[in-house]
Amino acid sequence: MAERADAGPNEAGSVVVATTSVTILASNRQMLYSSASLHRHFYLMAPKPQLIRRLADSTMQGTTKKSRLIATASASPSSSMKDYFSKYAEYLNQFNDKRERVVKASRDITINSKKVIFQVHRISKNNKDEVLERAEKDLLAVRDQHIARLVNELQGTDFWKLRRAYSPGVQEYVEAATLCKFCTSGTLLNLEEINSMLLPLSDASLEPLQINILDYILGLADLTGELMRLAIGRISDGELEYAERICRFVREIYRELTLVAPKMDDTSDMKQKMDTMLQSVMKIENACYSVHFPCEIYLLKETTIEDHKTLLHEHVVCISNGKVMYP
């Protein structure tokens, strides 16, 4: 055993493990630091993404530079390995920082789009124009403040590589924008229309951020949940016509999406959303149904009052209880 202790390599092994955890701590600290100083960085370092691209080019494309690098580093093979790795490290750092900033922008888009949606839900019988006007104004603010930030962070690149980082925010924005549009005009806001509204945010020299089909569809799938709440609200406010309009709209979207859903890139996510969507559609339908039915039968009452006393009796009970539900 004593021999083992001074043999060295085993100790080296434990040293390795220990230093690994130190690096982890250090990298955690750095992450904290970079998120804390994010705001400061953000305005000062606008040209950063170009830097990333240049760096990526130099690490990826530098076949000509490579020979020079090898020449300078050939003295010690291990230091040359470290040289290359510090290049990779730089690339990864820049890219991960960019990702963090994109995630943060996406989160802000989500929060503020949610606020727009809540604003729309404040709708009631007599304040529609006022509420919707406010919602539209807020929606514009989301676009001009937060989506503009996302556009700025992406700088016309990595739309697909960073999609997972910004997708939640974009979906929520699609949801808010389509909800507003439906409430003001009763129609579906097309992807083309949303994208044309995003065009002015981008610098003309860069490829503009355009919402992709997948995020648009995922956002629409979430829209039905909000419309369901809206429909229930309208029904309890007595606006049946409004609720029925929602019902038809949602049903149409669901029908269209059933054909599109299996062709999406990540079908499992969409499948789950389709299930929730069907639940929402059915909730609206059942709610419409339950208020629709007694009224119709109420009409019947007057024409058939003589002949069908049993039926009538049941309905009178139902209505006098003050319930809208079919017994």
Binding site: A12, G13, M60, P77, M81, N96, W160, R163, C247
Partner: protein
């Protein structure tokens, strides 16, 4: 069962709709009993369908058909575009499968190093597959070129295969030269053009981690075959590699996990080196210097 329930319900509703102001209440009554009797699940379905029918007919006047057509048009376009994307993906998958099987061939010929076949012979066999890989990657690049800027949309479809390729190429390069195959060299070997279809840096790094997994087994078998200098060389290389990886600030992702696994490779190689050294089998050539560098890191 459910279908027939639905059919009767449909008949009933049409009756209701046709005589909207003077329906036969007996039908209505029977409808209620009919919907009440089946199990709860089918009841909801039937109710929903009835509801659909009565609604669409009563609301027909209020439905603005141009918007429906516009909606339909948009989704038709989506469907077309997603279908195109799907068939592109299928083509990518087909190439990726070929890459996978070529890699397997390469791997199986490389496995002979564990049976202490002479390295040049083993490498020569494995190298014949590189040209095949080059061709496959060029057809992959050609497919992806059809969708400029969407490399990362389909990236997942060839990722793991590419990582495997990197690991084998790096292993071969190490057997040949004793040094690490760097990122741009992999691109060169595979004939990749970084500006349109490059090798993702993370894929490269993950591939290198896979290569490190291969080393402990190689060391063990080399020692068994009588090459007592091998552990020293491998330990030196792996220590450098591990130290280099520690320069990276990794996220909590797959690469991080693979890197965390690398220290077990390192430990295993250290153990073998220890065993060889303690028995006095290791050659003394340059040993004290190596020990120093190991301890430093």
């Amino acid at each position: 069962m459910m279908k027939s329930a639905f059919r009767t319900a449909l008949v009933l509703t049409t009756t209701v709709c046709h005589r909207s102001l003077n329906p036969n209440p007996i039908t209505l009554l029977s409808l209620r009993t009919a919907t009440a009797s089946p199990p709860p699940n089918s009841t909801t379905v039937t109710c929903r369908k009835i509801h659909c029918n009565s609604f669409s007919s009563s609301m027909a006047g209020g439905d603005s058909s141009p918007t429906v057509a516009a909606v339909e048009k948009q989704f038709d376009e989506f469907r077309n575009r997603l279908e195109e994307s799907g068939s592109l993906r299928d083509r990518i998958r087909a190439v990726a499968t070929e890459i996978e099987s070529t890699t397997r061939m390469m791997y199986s010929s490389l496995l002979l190093v564990h049976q202490s076949r002479p390295i040049p012979e083993v490498l020569e066999n494995a190298k014949t597959q590189i040209d095949v890989l080059k061709q496959l990657f060029s057809s992959l690049a050609e497919i992806v070129r059809e969708r400029p800027g969407q490399y990362y949309r389909y990236h997942g479809d060839w990722r793991t295969e590419t990582q495997q390729v990197v690991s084998l190429l790096a292993f071969m390069h190490w057997l040949e030269t004793g040094s690490l195959l760097i990122h741009t060299e992999v691109e060169e070997k595979l004939g990749l053009n970084a500006s349109e279809f490059g090798l993702d840096v993370e894929d490269y790094l993950i591939g290198i981690c896979f290569m490190s997994n291969e080393l402990p087994r190689y060391v063990v078998n080399q020692v068994t075959a009588g090459d007592y200098d091998c552990p020293r060389k491998v330990l030196k290389f792996l220590t450098d590699l591990h130290a280099s990886f520690r320069l990276l600030n990794l996220r909590n992702d797959f690469l991080r996990k693979k890197f965390d696994g690398m220290k077990y490779d390192l430990r295993r190689v250290e153990e073998v080196y220890y065993d060889v050294k303690i028995r006095g089998l290791a050659s003394n050539k340059g040993e004290s210097k190596e020990d120093q560098t190991i301890e430093e890191s």
